[in-house]
């Protein structure tokens, strides 16, 4: 049984001096990517035993701040209250927050005979707010002059669990659709009466099962479903690694934060060409200063690997995420280099 772990022992390529346990927990969105990082990192540092528990972003931040884990994965940056707690956890030098996982959220649909679908932000909002209830609605037709839209009810599918995907999607709608989306932003889906399913796989499953259904899910999980292009400025942009990375690249950093805190304010209402604004950015959160050298070294090594081209490629393969740009990588490396141990 343990053989599979044993045979990676000898397969180490570089580094390879480190050993010990590195524990992370948090966003489930990163789970698949983490699987890839884990696999790749074991090649680099076979002695390190890395574990990641996809408890959810909130739980991940809480556990990290309570000292239960060495780093957190989170779909949202720490809020002010949490930043205060972070000082207790990490000391005055504070935390790093690195947007290491970028993933486009696709609007997926199941509609026979319609292979391509364009949706403007307002139409999208109308559909998910259950104001637009039939596929032959004029608003949809206006976005898709060439398509023949059937007379069929729309079943919007949302997440039933509180999730980062929902939060990002709703944030986008609130920012881009203006008055068409009157709801508050949170990880809980705000509109009742639609179809709800647990987890990305649940949403994909429900959309697959229901004729006329539409939902939002990580692009990598879209499978055979139709994927809508979203109106940005004058054009319609399809989700892809490039278009997602582009919008992150062009977003502003959150102001008033620590030196190594690279949380960003996503430019949801972008009109830039070739930018796909419905993206989920998931951070890695850790301390700049750890209590013991071993943990500091482990975190440093792991984060170095994650932001490396290899690491980003591994995530792209495992999770279909968009590799971060060189600019983001250089910026992240400064934070990683700053990680130390207090003792």
């Amino acid at each position: 049984g343990a053989s599979n772990e044993a045979d990676t022992d000898s397969a180490g390529t570089g580094g390879g001096e480190l050993s010990g346990d590195l524990v992370g927990a948090g966003a489930s969105s990163q789970q698949a990517a983490m699987q890839g990082w884990q696999a790749g990192f074991t090649d680099v540092e076979p002695g390190v035993n890395l574990s990641y528990d996809p408890v959810g972003s909130g739980g991940g931040r809480e556990q990290f701040l309570a000292g239960g884990t060495d780093f957190a994965g989170s779909d949202a940056a720490l809020d002010d209250e949490e930043l205060a707690l972070a000082e207790e956890r990490c000391g005055a030098s504070g935390v790093f927050e690195l947007p290491n996982y970028i993933s486009p959220i696709a609007v997926v649909y199941n509609l026979e005979g319609v292979d391509e679908l364009n949706l403007s932000p307002e139409t999208l909002a109308g559909i998910f707010d259950q104001k637009i209830t039939n596929w032959n609605d004029p608003a949809i037709a206006a976005d898709n002059p060439d398509a023949t839209l059937p007379d069929q009810g729309i079943t919007p599918v949302n997440r039933s669990d509180e999730s980062g995907t929902t939060e990002n999607f709703v944030e986008y709608l609130a920012a881009a659709a203006g008055d068409a989306w009157p709801h508050e932003v949170s990880g809980d889906w705000p509109v009742s009466g639609g179809e709800a399913a647990q987890g990305t796989s649940g949403v994909v499953g429900a959309v697959e099962a229901g004729a006329g259904a539409i939902g939002y899910a990580d692009l990598s999980q879209a499978g055979d479903l139709g994927v809508a292009s979203i109106g940005v400025g004058e054009e319609f942009v399809a989700p892809s690694a490039e278009t997602a990375a582009a919008v992150v690249e062009n977003s502003e950093p959150l102001s008033g934060r620590g030196e190594y805190d690279f949380a960003i304010e996503l430019n949801r209402d972008t009109t830039g060409s070739g930018e796909y604004p419905i993206v989920l950015v998931s951070y890695h959160v850790g301390c700049i200063e750890y209590e013991d050298q071993e943990t500091a070294d482990l975190v440093k090594a792991f984060m170095t690997y994650v932001v490396s081209e290899d690491g980003q490629q591994a995530a792209a393969e495992a999770a279909g995420s968009a590799p971060i740009s060189d600019t983001l990588r250089e910026q992240a490396q400064t934070a990683i280099d700053a990680i130390t141990a207090s003792a």
Partner: protein, 362 residues
Amino acid sequence: MPQTSTSTPETASAGSGTSTALHSVGHLGRWAPWAIFAGAAAVAALLGMATGLNAAVFAIYTVALGTIALYAASRKVEGRRRATDRLVTCVVVSAFGLAMVPLVSLVIEVVSKGIGRLDSEFFASSMTGIIGEGGGVYHAIAGTLIITALTTLISVPIGLLTAIYLVEYGTGRLKRAITFLVDVMTGIPSIVAGLFAYALFAVFFGPGVRLGIAGAVALSVLMIPVVVRSAEEVLKLVPNELREASYALGVPKWRTIVKIVLPTAVAGLATGVTLAIARVIGETAPLLVTVGIINGTNLDPFDGRMATLPVYAYYQLTQPGVPPEFAIDRAWTAALVLIIIVMGLNIVARLFSRFFAPKTGR
């Protein structure tokens, strides 16, 4: 009395005291129900063709038509009471058939979806370093076995001793209180048990703690009442004669319990414990919040997260990587492994009963 009387049981009603025929007016042959149902099936097929045939509709028509026809025929030939009897028989059998549909489909679904990955790699490897294809449940099986063993270790002594108390010693209000609270405990939702264990351990180890032993405590909250209940039933079945035989030899009560009552009941106790294990081994929610999940193998329940089969299956299904098929296959296979383990436990319990049950027969 004439050999062929014409009175039905109804007319030979009590109190009249005149007619005493043994023959009913008539008697449907053994073949009659089969013939009637075959006819019903034929009619159902015709009806189905008209309205669009599918298996479910066909079955419903057949059963409904057949039952009605059989009732009518029996009512005419055999009288009201016999007809009612036949009607109830039809209803009971079709209710049984109806209930079997989902249960059978469940088994078929899990087996057909899970059998594909039921290979040696699946049993021999963990998820360390696995992206996409491959991987296995070695770590999760180990975790499930360890945590379940710990749970058993906690629950069986407490549960068994409580049952002994209730059956052999208990009197008055304490006994009634315990009986009632054990009932209540069987109703504790598993997620509540999980939250309780988590909070308990968080007090000592701080928030965010994940330990195998915490999972075992959570599962114990669920398992103890099941053990108490089944052990209580089994101990009650041990005949008092045996206890008295032992007392009459001048054996103290506690030795009687240990040496006579428990060995006599051992088979039933084993079955009860096995069913109790089966009840908790598939729990997901409490383990999610107390034990978490990891990709590698951790055999130490007192240090950090462990993988367990249900949680593993849950995450593989709800958070598949790219492409999702591989993880979803792993999820179904893990579910199948879980069922196989439960079945294995049942067989072990049965063998146990076979070997340890009081010997009877010559």
